[in-house]
């Protein structure tokens, strides 16, 4: 709202856009020749799109989740939402898989999983927010255990499955950066676009929620409805990003923390774009680093976890000194 600080925020956004644009074009065009362009270009383009979608999902979810839970540390993936998605997918294959595995791996599975995801997170959050569970400690503890519980259940069901059947669907279901699920790209673009449009309209309410629950209610924010809506957006977006590129546990906490460090503003109109751009920067940079410099000798999650973890610890220590 103040003109002077706005310009600094805008500058940060512009610089980030520039870096992401450079990384994107590097990723798209590096090593492209007249001969291989027809093969490589469409594939790379799809990858870039998947990365952008995932960045939006992670960026928006992490920032808004921290606002509605009023904390600086939790993100949807730290409380196990992406494990929940993987678990749901396993359940679907487990119960409906026998008849027509191929039918339930593509779009129907995707949409069904998203639906179940919304339903489950509703109950999950309902349980966690009920009573006096403003207790952050309780939420982290419960969330982490939930994460372990879901991935435990998922691997348990996978054991129970016919190994052949499982390996058949595994590649299609469980995406990773080496194996992005670009089949679902077009429907994902639609989903993310709709949610992004809806979510934007709540930014001013989220800004007020930054003052805490009681104060937000006092300012006339329909608290319950806003929080509930935001949680549903988060559930859907987590499903989308996990389906496209697989779980990226620490990206969320990384981008929110760096975004907060870069510009200290409460405004979601600024915070969300910055987190999203940082996510794209980290993912594209990571991909380029792994593919061009390390020559695929490791996975991108390893790089992100390493750099992200070190940076996070650095941030905490720096905060300690000031």
């Amino acid at each position: 709202m103040r003109v002077k600080s706005l310009s600094k925020e805008k500058r940060s956004i512009l610089i980030l856009i520039l870096i992401v644009a450079i990384l994107t074009s590097l990723f798209l065009f590096l090593g492209l020749t007249g001969k291989n362009i027809n093969y490589f270009f469409p594939r790379r383009l799809r990858k870039v799109l998947a990365v952008f979608l995932a960045s939006y999902c992670v960026g928006y979810s992490s920032v808004s989740f921290q606002t509605i839970t009023n904390n600086k540390i939790l993100t949807p993936s730290i409380i196990g939402l992406d494990s929940l998605y993987l678990f749901l997918q396993t359940i679907i294959v487990f119960f409906f898989g026998n008849a027509g595995v191929s039918k339930l791996t593509g779009l129907p599975n995707y949409l069904l999983s998203i639906g179940l995801m919304v339903l489950c997170s509703f109950f999950l959050f309902f349980g966690m927010f009920k009573g006096n569970s403003k207790n952050l400690y309780f939420m982290v503890l419960a969330g982490t255990i939930f994460g372990g519980l879901f991935s435990g259940l998922a691997s348990f069901m996978q054991v129970l499955m016919d190994p052949n059947e499982f390996s058949l669907v595994q590649g299609k279901m469980f995406a990773s950066f080496n194996q992005m699920n670009t089949d679902l790209l077009s429907i994902s673009i639609v989903i993310v676009a709709v949610i992004a449009f809806l979510a934007r309209r709540d930014f001013s309410k989220l800004n007020a929620l930054g003052l805490g629950q009681a104060q937000a209610i006092s300012l006339g924010v329909p608290y319950r409805r806003t929080v509930f809506r935001t949680l549903m957006y988060i559930a859907i977006l987590t499903a989308v990003s996990t389906a496209l590129v697989g779980p990226i546990t620490f990206l969320g906490i990384l981008v929110v923390s760096i975004a907060r460090n870069l510009v200290s503003t409460y405004r979601h109109e600024i915070r969300v774009p910055i987190a999203v751009l940082l996510g794209a920067l980290a993912l594209l940079g990571g991909l380029l680093f792994v593919e061009r410099i390390l020559h695929h000798s490791t996975q991108i999650s390893v790089v992100i976890n390493f750099i992200g973890g070190c940076y996070f610890i650095y941030l905490v220590l720096k905060e300690g000194k000031s």
């Binding site: 904390n71 540390i73 939790l74 349980g127 009920k130 009573g131 006096n132 569970s133 207790n135 952050l136 400690y137 309780f138 982290v140 503890l141 419960a142 982490t144 255990i145 939930f146 372990g148 519980l149 991935s151 435990g152 259940l153 691997s155 348990f156 054991v159 129970l160 620490f250 000798s297 490791t298 996975q299 999650s301 390893v302 790089v303 976890n305 390493f306 992200g308 973890g309 070190c310 996070f312 610890i313 905490v316 220590l317 905060e319 300690g320």
Partner: protein, 320 residues
């Protein structure tokens, strides 16, 4: 005292079931005849497995309890503080430099690296200003994360990925005579933990509080982490890592028995042993005659029980 007796009875029953259970026909009566096939099976496979499970369960729970007491944080455990990750890194280094043969060498490396890692963790903790309860384990998780990605990277470079994934999940099916005795080395450390229990409790109340009572805070912290690192490293080397056990058991104990380490250490060990034994039995019968990874059972069963307790507690309005 009453609850403890119940624990002991359950432990004995579960132990007998565990020994009886297996793919091969087995009769307890025959097994008592020295030299019989059943007797051999008992000595070379069933008993070692039982002991390995009990020591692992007790060891991880005690480690978790000590860490939680000393940091004054219910959320810290060998997994959430990254101790297990450091152990794996140590094992990797040992394999790189000395090959994968010597268990002793692996254990030494795992121990030293885990101890260094824990001390680094404590150093970091002292540097953060607001020791919010969530921040402590988060730093542990992050640190563990950094180390594990380092491990993954190095392992990939030297083609040791297969090797690593075998320590990722705890597994008791490979435990036979001659492959688990390392775990006995943990016993003196458990006794040490018992002797220091009161001091850990005091240290957990803060450095100034401990100093006020005339305790050498730094020394006690180091003793605590030596015990934790040692138990964690022998367990990782012998059977692999089992997530959550060191987190869940101490928290359950704390809900029902309170937090004085001197009084609860034995119960913690007992419950840890029983719980892991129970999970191990389940893992063997659930898709009989195959085995499910015991880690999976621990995280599902333990997670469910723990969440139930947590929500119960939360509903009553108590603080967690």
């Amino acid at each position: 005292m009453k609850k403890r007796n119940v624990f002991i009875i359950i432990l004995i029953i579960a132990s007998i079931i565990s020994v009886m259970l297996g793919a091969q026909d087995f009769s307890l009566k025959k097994a008592l005849v020295i030299g019989s096939a059943d007797n051999q099976l008992l000595i070379y496979s069933r008993i070692p497995r039982l002991l390995a499970v009990l020591v692992t369960g007790a060891g991880l729970s005690i480690s978790g309890k000590i860490m939680q007491t000393m940091t004054g944080n219910r959320f810290v455990s060998p997994t959430t503080a990254g101790t297990m990750e450091w152990c794996k890194f140590g094992i990797l280094l040992s394999i790189l430099f000395f090959g994968g043969q010597s268990m002793m060498m692996k254990m030494m490396f795992a121990f030293i690296i885990a101890l260094l890692g824990s001390l680094l963790f404590v150093q970091l903790l002292q540097r953060i200003p607001l020791k919010s309860p969530v921040m402590v384990p988060l730093i542990g998780l992050m640190l563990g994360n950094v180390v594990s990605s380092l491990t993954a990277y190095v392992a990939f470079q030297y083609d040791l990925v297969q090797n690593i994934s075998s320590w990722l999940q705890g597994n008791f099916s490979l435990v036979v005579k001659g492959r688990y005795e390392l775990l006995y080395l943990g016993i003196p450390f458990v006794i040490l933990a018992y002797l220091y229990a009161k001091k850990f409790t005091i240290a957990g109340m803060g450095e100034s509080f401990a100093k006020n009572l005339g305790l050498n805070y730094k020394f006690i912290t180091i003793v605590g982490f030596v015990i934790v690192a040692f138990l964690a490293s022998i367990i990782t080397v012998s059977v692999g890592s089992i997530a959550f056990l060191g987190l869940i058991i101490p928290n359950i104990i704390s809900i029902y028995f309170g937090d004085d380490l001197k009084h609860t250490l034995f119960d913690t060990a007992l419950l840890g042993g029983i719980f892991l034994l129970f999970c191990d039995i389940l893992s063997r019968i659930i898709v009989y005659p195959y085995e499910v990874s015991v880690s999976v059972i621990v995280s599902v069963l333990g997670g469910a029980i723990f969440l139930f307790l947590l929500f119960q507690k939360n509903k009553e309005g108590g603080t967690v």
